[in-house]
Structure formats: structure tokens, C-alpha cells
Symmetry: C2
Subunit: 220 residues, 2 copies
């Protein structure tokens, strides 16, 4: 479809900032580019919009991620458009950056060496304007996490309240008081206790699951 018009169009792509919690920190999953342009550099997974395959760019990002990772991310939202004739020196291009949150287990199931993980606050040089995309994604996550249950998307299906608190602390880069935190979470009714417990060398902890991202009316 789309017969040629009498004026030029930009190349349209999508890129995903895949964030996860790893080693107690917010990290981004990068892969090494195996073809030009910017061959050899680290970059975000992405691809070109195909008008015959995709009903929308949301379809595009899901198709690209499914083909590269085998899964659809727990949480996915449109982030921001990056565009211009500077970002890829060959042509005027436009990329829609997406924010994706996934539990580490999903990424590890993809296979060894496919992704390289970096702390979001300590990035290497990236291809194109991908550093800006990561920065925008991190800012969005940190902001939204202060008034929503977004960080739940970084956890496995079942988790303890201590794990949840540690996730918030990693994302928000701040220590939280246990008692206050539990009061808040309790009041929101955003996580549901399961009938299972995590056992270990200490008192077993109740396992919870969550259903969907909930917005708070106040900051955490």
C-alpha cells in the first residue's frame, strides 16, 4: 500500500528501552549491532515499520520484540518520538521510542549473550541517539514510579513485600521506611496476597501478586 507521493518521506522505525531490575539496580538491556550503520556499537533493539505487517506502530514494537526475545514485555508504553536528519547521517529518520519493563527472568530466558546489561546511570556510548532514549525512559519510569505501581512490572509473578520495597528503592534511588511503605501498599489494595509463602532460613514471607498498574493519589 501507499503509492509513492511527490515528496520525500522519513524512514520510520521503532526502538525499545528494555529496563529490568538486575543486581539490585535498574539496568537496560542492550545488544551489539551486527550490521551497518554503527556496526559494533551497543544499541537498543528496534526495527522498521512494515505497512503490510503492522496495523500500528504498537504492533511494530511488539512484532520486533517478539522476534528478538520471544516474549511480549510485561509493561509497554510509547515514550517519545526522536526525529531529524542528524540522528542517522544517511537520511532523515524518525524513531518512536518505547518504554518496556520486564522481569529479569524473561530476559535471561532469551539466551546467553544476546543482551548486555548496564546500569542506567552508568551507560557506555550507544549508537545513534539511543542514549537520549534511555535517559527519557529512565526519567519516565522514575517519575511514574513515585505515584504508581509501575515497579511491579519489574518483578516476577509472585513476590514478597520486601522485594517490592527493594524494587521501589532501586528505581526511586531512595530508602523507604518499611512500616510506612506497607501502610501505603495496603491502603492502595494494589497487590493481592496469594496463599503461598517464600521459605528460606528465616520467617517465611507472604507472597503477593499484582494485577495491573494502579495510580496513587499521592506520592509514595
Amino acid at each position: 500500500m501507499n503509492a509513492p507521493l511527490n515528496f520525500p518521506l522519513p524512514l520510520v522505525t521503532v526502538d525499545a528501552v528494555l529496563l529490568t531490575l538486575r543486581e539490585g539496580k535498574l539496568q537496560v538491556a542492550l545488544h551489539r549491532r551486527d550490521k551497518a550503520p554503527e556496526e559494533g556499537k551497543l544499541g537498543l533493539p528496534g526495527g522498521v515499520v512494515h505497512l503490510d505487517k503492522d496495523k500500528s506502530t504498537d504492533d511494530t514494537i511488539r512484532r520486533v520484540l517478539l522476534s528478538k526475545t520471544g516474549f511480549t514485555p510485561r509493561y509497554l508504553e510509547q515514550l517519545q518520538v526522536f526525529s531529524g536528519d542528524q540522528r542517522d547521517e544517511r537520511l532523515w529518520s524518525l524513531s518512536i521510542a518505547y518504554l518496556a519493563l520486564v522481569p529479569l527472568s524473561d530476559l535471561e530466558a532469551v539466551g546467553e549473550g544476546v543482551f548486555h546489561f548496564y546500569d542506567v546511570d552508568n551507560l557506555p556510548e550507544l549508537a545513534f541517539d539511543h542514549s537520549q532514549m534511555v535517559a527519557a525512559a529512565v526519567a519516565r519510569v522514575r517519575n511514574k514510579s513515585s505515584y504508581s505501581t509501575l515497579p511491579c512490572a519489574l518483578l516476577p509473578e509472585k513476590f514478597t513485600l520486601t522485594q517490592l520495597q527493594q524494587t521501589y528503592e532501586a528505581v526511586l534511588q531512595t530508602k523507604l521506611d518499611k512500616s510506612s511503605f506497607r501502610r501505603k501498599i495496603e491502603a492502595l489494595e494494589c497487590v493481592i496476597p496469594t496463599d503461598e509463602y517464600q521459605t528460606g532460613v528465616q520467617r517465611p514471607a507472604q507472597l503477593y501478586r499484582f494485577e495491573q498498574v494502579v495510580l496513587f493519589d499521592k506520592v509514595l
Copy 2:
């Protein structure tokens, strides 16, 4: 630039949701389309990305708005991409919706009849998926206004605290307590008193101005 590729590309456009405060309510500025497609319907001002004129899509929206209104909006931010083969039946298209906030005076200066104003909660049928764009813009403004000085962008350069409060009330659709509101604004140091006063039939009110959008750490 951009030589033809061996696969089709979407048409790329931008659209602006121009919001203002009018008759004490949050309203959107629409214009009647004077050419196909959807001729005669009300829609958002927008245009096609020109690779030779625009360094980015942010440039595109500013160029389009400048040509249609003569001004650059007080506040402008990227909202969301709408895309697919359904939104314009002729082709697969992609539009980047922008959120723009302007004082009513700016829009009135454009000239009579160019724009038609509607309450954002009582819209007529719009062209393409422009209703969705307006809904997304309104949701964004209402959300951000609860923790920022965004509504300042809807006011003239100088305003009283009562006007500011009424603006918040219109945007947030809620009554606010005068004393609490002033405490909050005072503590934020987000508006600056001028040495002018608004005179009328009552006690003169201090006029304020604001410099930039400030984020609160708590909701209003």
C-alpha cells in the same frame, strides 16, 4: 534528501491539540477543514513533515502553528503517536500529536472565525482520530496540572492569585480552598509578584507572573 527505498513508508504528519481557558472552562481550538479528506469536518490544525524545511518534528509543529496562527504556543510538548491504516482510509499514516497550551488572548489575536472553540468535555464529531488526540491531551493536562504549574501557561502574562486558582479549578474540575491554595503556591515559589495591581470595583489584587513550569513534590 531520502532516496526512495525498496519498501513503502507511512505518510508522516503532526497535529496540535490547542487548549485554552475560555468562558471559565478548558476549551480546544478547532478549525473547519476546507479540503479533502474529511472536508467540512472540524479537526485539529496540522500538517505534513517536510524533510527539507524541518530539522525535527518539533520544528514541523512550530512551523505549522506559526503559519496558521502567527505565534508559537506558550507551552508545547509531544503527546503521542497515532498510526495505522485505519485512521485515514486512503493510506497508512502516522501522526505525532502535540499538546499546546495558550492564553486565550493569543488565539483571539489570530482573527475571527479561524478557530471554533468547544468544551473539551463536550466535543462534536471530529475528523480522523482527532477526538482521541483531544482526549489524550486533556488527560495529560489534567494529570500534570495536579503536580505542576502547567496551568500558568493558560493565563496572560500577569495574573492574580484568584485567577490562578480559578484556572486550576477549571482544569482539575474541582473546588480548591483559597487559604490552602495560597499556602501551596507560596511554598513553591513558582510565581513572582510584580509591583503592579489589578484594580476594579474592589480591593486591588497583586499581579503575579511566572517563569517556567515547576513540578510539585506532592499533589495540589
